[in-house]
């Protein structure tokens, strides 16, 4: 068995060589995400002002040295609010998607391995769930549960796992027909061991790549709900809430809405570039 294993040193050498050939999208996306994470973890290190402190002497002031992104209608510093919003919006990206990733992967693996009636039934559930406009269903659930981030996570979680489940189920269904799965069965491994130790590592790639896209979508969704007043609640700094704060001042004080929007676009780009690069990387590895 040890015969086919490359030596540790050879593996390390290969890893170093690969680093130079990383896709550009992967590097740029990774850089944006790393910066976003730092801003999300320690916004107070970078925000020049308290994001919710009002200054009635500096209401609606345009971008200046004192306030690079200007101030809003309460005199709050827009830059500080954009920076501290990283905490909430990155949290949305991670919290809203990680649960569905885990649940969907487990369910998808079991469904894909079981096949037959289970797979057909799951297919019907998927059909029905994708028949709902995602945002409409999330809004409807939030409407019943009440506005707020916690309820938004629940609403997203109830639906979103289906998408991961579909990806993983399809991939596991392919993998289980390959020889190595038969070998596992022949060696008397339990189905659980075959599924989670052998099939899943080979089948999870599409789900991981989708996870990146999904996090970008989660930020769009979270900020949309914030904009509609159904997500993060004021005075918390969240990009969607900020854009809503500035929507009546677009002609006179554009900076209130425009800068948070740019933050959304940049972060979203970070996720999708990183996802594209990751997909390319995993593809070439295969």
């Amino acid at each position: 068995m040890t015969l086919a294993l490359p030596t540790v040193r050879a593996r390390k050498r290969r890893r170093i060589r690969r680093l130079g050939r990383l896709p550009l999208t992967f590097l740029v996306g990774g850089l944006i995400l790393a910066a976003s994470l730092v801003l999300a973890l320690v916004p107070q290190l970078f925000a020049p002002y308290d994001p919710i402190a009002m200054d009635y002497n500096a209401i609606l002031s345009p971008p200046s040295w004192a306030h690079p992104f200007g101030t809003d209608s309460f005199g709050r510093d827009v830059l500080s609010r954009v920076i501290s919003a990283y905490s909430i919006d990155m949290q949305i990206a991670i919290f809203a998607t990680t649960g569905p990733l885990i649940v969907g992967t487990i369910v998808g693996a079991l469904v894909g391995y079981a096949g037959g009636l289970t797979e057909t039934l799951f297919g019907r559930i998927v059909d029905a769930v994708i028949s709902f406009p995602f945002l409409v269903l999330v809004i409807a659930i939030v409407a019943v549960l009440g506005p707020g981030l916690g309820n938004m996570y629940i609403a997203v979680g109830v639906i979103d796992w289906v998408f991961y489940g579909r990806l993983v189920a399809a991939e596991v269904a392919v993998q289980k027909r390959l020889d190595y799965a038969d070998a596992g069965r022949a060696m008397g491994y339990t189905p659980a061991r075959i599924i989670f130790r052998h099939l899943l590592p080979n089948a999870i790639t599409p789900a991981i790549v989708y996870w990146m896209t999904d996090m970008a979508l989660a930020i769009l969704l979270g900020s949309s709900l914030g904009y509609l007043g159904l997500g993060a609640q004021p005075p918390a700094a969240e990009w969607g809430v900020q854009i809503a704060d500035g929507k009546n001042f677009m002609s006179t004080a554009w900076w209130i809405s425009v800068f948070p929007g740019i933050a959304i676009v940049v972060t979203g780009l970070g996720f999708s570039l990183f996802g594209d690069g990751l997909a390319e990387l995993l593809r070439t590895k295969k």
Partner: protein, 312 residues
């Protein structure tokens, strides 16, 4: 003939999907935590009022009975009455949904008009400047939230340049088209980005196909080769994707209608949520889900028509 039996089969598949949609809509209000009656009336509601609302919503009966009544009512076209607007949900939906459908149809059309030619340019100039420029700008478009795009277009082309109205909906069809142009463009942007990306990849996959070489070897004009041989094959997967994106489009319409103050189903949905008008939320969710299911059916038929191998 094959197409006809395919459509029949596909219609039969619609039944379990619709049944499941009904269950989800029902559970939405009846199973999720939270008591609709007190949610509607607020925390200081008197017990008598709660009981009255519960009776009005049929919430005092056992769950399976409630579901049967729910299904029976829907089959009879009765979606209940709006709590605040005092009219039937069915008439509200019938009144507002066409506006949303018109908006999304316009958006879909604009998205196609943008995506198809640009995908062609990008695919045929692969790796060159125009390809990268097109892909880059669409990637940015894809990362922009709908409400943000809408707000910017509204400010620039509505409030500042005054080329378009800043909201509302006209009376004549022409006026309506004019009013819906900016919102439809807003909605079209991310869809066109998704379609462009997919179609570009599909075209690249097809232009090197041997049947395209064979078409060239036949001495056909390049325009005929591009439309009949390349585009038709490339569109097959894009049509499928288009169907899957209609849900996203309708979700986007909810936001767009709010931003542009368009009296459609989406804006009604948000207003009903603010007003905790559950029968309306329920009715609208059902209506939108049915619209999506029917679009899936339609795109499947188009796909089967484009690709004879599907309808075997």
């Amino acid at each position: 003939m094959a197409l006809l039996s395919f459509i029949t089969r596909r219609l039969l598949q619609l039944i379990p999907t619709l049944a499941f949609i009904l269950v989800v809509i029902f559970l939405l209000v009846h199973l999720l935590p939270g008591d609709p009656a007190s949610a509607i009336l607020g925390d200081r509601a008197r017990d008598a009022d709660v009981a009255r609302i519960n009776a009005q919503l049929g919430l005092d009966k056992p769950l399976p009975v409630q579901f049967l009544i729910f299904v029976k009512n829907i089959a009879a076209g009765d979606f209940g009455d709006s709590i605040h607007l005092k009219v039937s949900v069915a008439s509200l939906v019938a009144d507002r949904l066409p506006v949303t459908l018109m908006l999304t149809a316009m958006a879909a059309l604009i998205a196609l008009v943008l995506a198809v030619p640009l995908a062609f340019v990008a695919a045929t100039h692969r790796g060159r400047f125009s390809d990268n420029a097109i892909r880059g700008s669409f990637q940015v478009g894809l990362s922009m939230p709908v409400f943000y795009v809408g707000l910017i277009l509204l400010t620039v082309f509505g409030a500042q340049l005054r080329w378009f109205p800043v909201g509302g909906f006209g009376d004549t069809f022409g006026e309506q088209l004019y009013h819906l142009f900016l919102p439809a463009l807003t909605l079209a942007l991310s869809l066109s980005a998704i379609l462009m990306r997919n179609l570009r990849a599909a075209i690249i996959g097809v232009v090197d196909a041997e049947y395209v070489d064979f078409a060239r070897a036949k001495g056909l004009r390049s325009r005929l080769i591009m439309t009949r041989h390349v585009l038709r094959n490339a569109l097959i997967s894009t049509v499928n994707l288009f169907g899957l994106q209609v849900g996203t489009l309708l979700g986007g319409a909810v936001i767009t209608e709010t931003v542009f103050a368009i009296p459609g189903a989406g804006r009604l949905m948000i207003e009903s949520i603010y007003g905790r008008d559950y029968p309306v939320v329920q009715g609208l969710t059902l209506a939108l889900a049915v619209v999506v299911s029917l679009t899936f059916l339609l795109t499947d038929i188009v796909q089967a028509w484009l690709d004879p191998r599907v309808a075997r």
